[in-house]
Symmetry: C2
Subunit: 561 residues, 2 copies
């Protein structure tokens, strides 16, 4: 396969490489049976969410519109074959590509072969292979798949073919998963949007003038359109949570070094000052747990010694809140950037319900120096001053995408560290972590995922609400409130959640965010889902997901969409 | 207290600072009641181990010659008061100082006050404060104690006074411990001997021409003379294990980030490429477990967020080998430096007994590239090219001690890393760890602690047998074989454990070690204890200690000395 790939090393221009990758992607979608209809731009509305219902068959909708829990049950019981399920999800994923540009390729041959094997297994053995028998799992491109290109969003890296599946995919495979689609990511992976020179810009299915978020934005848009019910993202500053939030699905960034990452690719390999996490995104809260537990049950630490050998502690989590209330800190505003009115409204709505629950204790959480946290983590992201990122870009001559330029060139915290300054930054990080741990007297923290709902394209500049928990390495989960930006509810400047009249922004980041709202208002963000974030103590992943179950019940929110 | 300390900052020379520290030490010893006899050099034999029996009273010997297990029982039952016990151990520690130069200061006021409180507690409550009620615990100097100087072996750092007890000491305090003595360490802490310009050279109580090892060499000598039955060392290349081995006691380097380290001091703070571990040294195997469990039971990770929240898994360890044999790899020689004959003899003796045990399966372990492991870890020890070490030394103008010169100036792996070369070195480390994990098909590995018994002073140049497990971050425990270097047993060049006639060394390190044996022979190392090392898989600390219990029983070795 690799010999067919057009590459910079083979003498092509970056535009030729990108065109070839897109041709390849389209060719994999063209294999679908029956073929998808061609859609002209004028046929795609601003909000695309209802479109699959018009294009897919009733049978296809039955399978793809069901909950992940039901899908798993139907597959495990043999009621639905893996082959039937994967065909349908490939078609819906192909459609999602046409609507939002979220796919880098389908894997029809591999997926169908695997599905046949699973169907044969269940026919013979009358039982599923494992807890994820036949479940289609979508994969962010930089998590390597055997025999597939592995470019991490850089044109210059196209042509590197993975020798084997990433470790996490091996674990999921053992549990019965079917891999069938790979999804887009931005140039550098260091954007919370999804824009690259290989595939262009991925957009939000709820409002195509908005971003689906990033860097796992392809996953986000795909899940938003139910082209997948369970996928894999990665997160070093919000890259699982931002796209989960922007597309109204669930996303879980576990504590780092719990889930295996061997086989992914990215720049700055060997850096360990801030550690990225890999984790699930799903249409269902249960999907996050199933995924994580299935991987940990394979004891990945035996093969990847960087990992910490903590098994999934289900029983401990189940007992954690028995006979007592979940103590929830509430932080509407991080003190650096005030969220847009719809986010404040959603927070208020959920908190009101939590306060009425006998299972929840609500306390106010006073953010501690979150602006300092950003300056610490931002100085640790690119310890080489961005050299490795820029080298990867310069290999092909591709231009910097606007948000790559912003994070690398306009970010005042980027510096080339010496060994000494790196050690000093590590100490500052550790002191901040210690200070936060001393203050942490809650079970979980409820807060926004970002300073607004899904942002206008190229405007996602404030990572503070998510990167905070990467610096602290606290697990964090994003969940949909089933609410969305509404002209009726958020248009009134006099409402209790609106900016105060004559609001004077706190600083540059707050001003930028404030002006976005002034410019676009509720109309500009119309239909964007509003999601919230729940954060747990470091390594308390199991207890965090258990707390979210309790909280969603208390807030009368469905655990599955 | 700090105002009384003579310091470089106060205008003193390094010699004046050192003299003041020694005066202070001697003054704390002079407070002992009854005072210890003055001993002239001629009164101190080469082997000092029998001397306490001649100098201490029968009552003092009853308390200090008992096992740690019995001491704990007598204290917990109130049979012996904490005050009586601590007075006796302070005297024996003072005597150990006169014989081996292993103490930096006694803490009589603090210790007696604490002992009184404990005695009052037990009188009132009829129960001990915790599992270490009244147990005297000795502490390596660079593990900070409130209101005491904290110099890490650098003359220039004298005058920094710790504000509070180190975190690990707070945990031990909660468990009932009494702190009473601080022990010596070498300049830079990066020697596996114990030689500084502040206190001179610590020597081995079994043979004062030999080193007690290091860097926790003060602890080693003190425990060897039973001036302590339980103490604290630190280890980044062998610093707990070398002194445990050289003095015939137990020493345990846990997996890193399990036990708390906040409050210790050292150069290169913020470095995280190779992580030092803190751990117990004891006259008893049970002491290692008691110590570790007592600390972990205090959930130190809640206050020190760098730590991994794995509690002590006693039950899991107990069950680990039920109904099956412990699979023990045996590695007599690491393929880089052949051990001296006495070490090979001790290995053979223990292995012979293990082979006969129904509880043990013995397999040969083929070392995998241990020379590469050394080159990787040695290049990560001083990522700044040694600048921080040299700056700490230059602050006072003190000279480099010979082994500091060797590790910093003669070590070909020392280099100033760039961010990029550091990342590359991290990747090399991780790849080596992965390769080793893939080969690790045993429960534990039995191997030497060093390429000989306790070395002649200033000759401890080969760290490979211990640093290997720091690079891999595998827990490792050292235990005494109750054997020692013997002119009768090791003097015969024709014996099966001797170097082959006409031996041709493999390389520079092997040649150095071989020539040491040629020069000094069994006579030169007479009476040095021979200890061995047992290594477990990463994070398998509990199972490692359990395996050692089984192995010591199988080898008919007492678990306590």
């Amino acid at each position: 396969m690799s010999t067919d790939i057009v590459t910079i090393a083979g003498g092509a221009t970056w535009q030729e490489v990108a065109a070839d990758r897109q041709r390849h992607r389209d060719a994999t979608i063209a294999q679908l049976e029956p073929p998808l209809p061609e859609l002209s731009a004028s046929e795609i509305p601003l909000n695309t969410i209802a479109l699959p219902k018009k294009i897919l068959s009733e049978g296809e909708l039955t399978i793809t519109d069901t909950t992940l829990e039901n899908l798993i049950e139907k597959l495990a019981s043999g009621h639905w074959t893996s082959t039937a399920v994967i065909k349908v999800f490939m078609r819906r994923a192909g459609l999602a590509q046409k609507l939002t540009n979220c796919v880098t390729e389908l894997l029809p041959e591999r997926a169908l072969k695997r599905a046949e094997e699973l169907d044969a297994y269940i026919a013979t053995n009358k039982k599923p292979v494992g807890p994820l028998h036949g479940v289609p799992i979508s994969v962010k491109e930089h998590v390597g798949i055997a025999d597939c290109d592995l470019n991490a969003g850089f044109v210059g890296w196209v042509g590197t073919v993975a020798k084997e599946d990433s470790h996490i995919l091996q674990c999921l495979w053992d549990a019965g998963a079917v891999l069938y689609v790979r999804t887009t990511q931005p140039q550098t992976l260091m954007q919370i949007e999804t824009s690259s020179n290989l595939y262009g810009t991925t957009v939000n299915p709820y409002n195509t003038s908005l971003t689906p978020g990033g860097s796992s934005g392809g996953e986000g848009a795909l899940l938003g359109l139910r082209g997948s019910l369970l996928g894999i993202g990665t997160d070093i500053g919000g890259s699982i949570r931002s796209p989960a939030a922007n597309n109204g699905v669930f996303g879980f960034k576990p504590t780092s070094l719990r889930l295996p990452v061997r086989g992914w690719t990215a720049t700055m390999a060997g850096a360990e000052h801030v550690i990225a996490a890999i984790g699930p995104m799903s249409t269902s809260l249960a999907g996050l747990k199933l995924f994580t537990q299935a991987v940990l049950d394979r004891e990945p630490w035996l093969r990847e010694p960087t990992l910490i050998p903590i098994p999934w502690r289900e029983e401990e989590a189940r007992r954690a809140y028995e006979g007592r209330r979940v103590r929830v800190g509430v932080m509407v505003d991080d003190g650096v950037v005030m969220p847009h009115p719809p986010v404040k409204r959603a927070m208020a709505g959920v908190v009101e319900k939590l306060r009425k629950s006998p299972n929840v204790e609500v306390v106010e959480w006073k953010p501690w120096d979150h602006d300092r946290a950003w300056s610490i983590i931002a100085s640790l992201y690119f310890c080489d001053g961005g050299a490795d990122e820029l080298a990867a870009i310069n290999t092909s001559g591709e231009p910097l995408r606007p948000l790559s330029h912003w994070i690398l060139k306009e970010n005042p915290h980027v510096r080339r560290h010496t060994i000494e300054s790196l050690w000093a930054a590590n100490l500052e990080r550790d002191a901040y972590r210690t200070g936060y741990a001393e203050r942490w007297d809650i079970d979980v923290l409820l807060c926004p995922v970002g300073p607004g709902a899904a942002p206008k394209l190229e405007t996602s500049r404030y990572w503070g609400y998510t990167a905070q928990w990467n610096l602290l390495d606290y697990p964090a989960v994003v969940f949909p409130t089933r609410d969305c930006v509404s002209v009726d509810k958020d248009g009134d400047e006099g409402s209790e959640h609106a900016y105060p009249l004559g609001y004077s922004p706190r600083g540059e980041s707050d001003k930028y965010n404030y002006e976005l709202w002034r410019e676009h208002g509720a109309e500009g963000y119309k239909d964007a889902p509003i999601s919230l974030q729940l954060v747990g103590g470091r390594y308390q992943d199991e207890k965090l997901l258990r707390a979210l179950e309790i909280l969603m019940d208390a807030a009368e929110l469905p655990r599955s969409i």
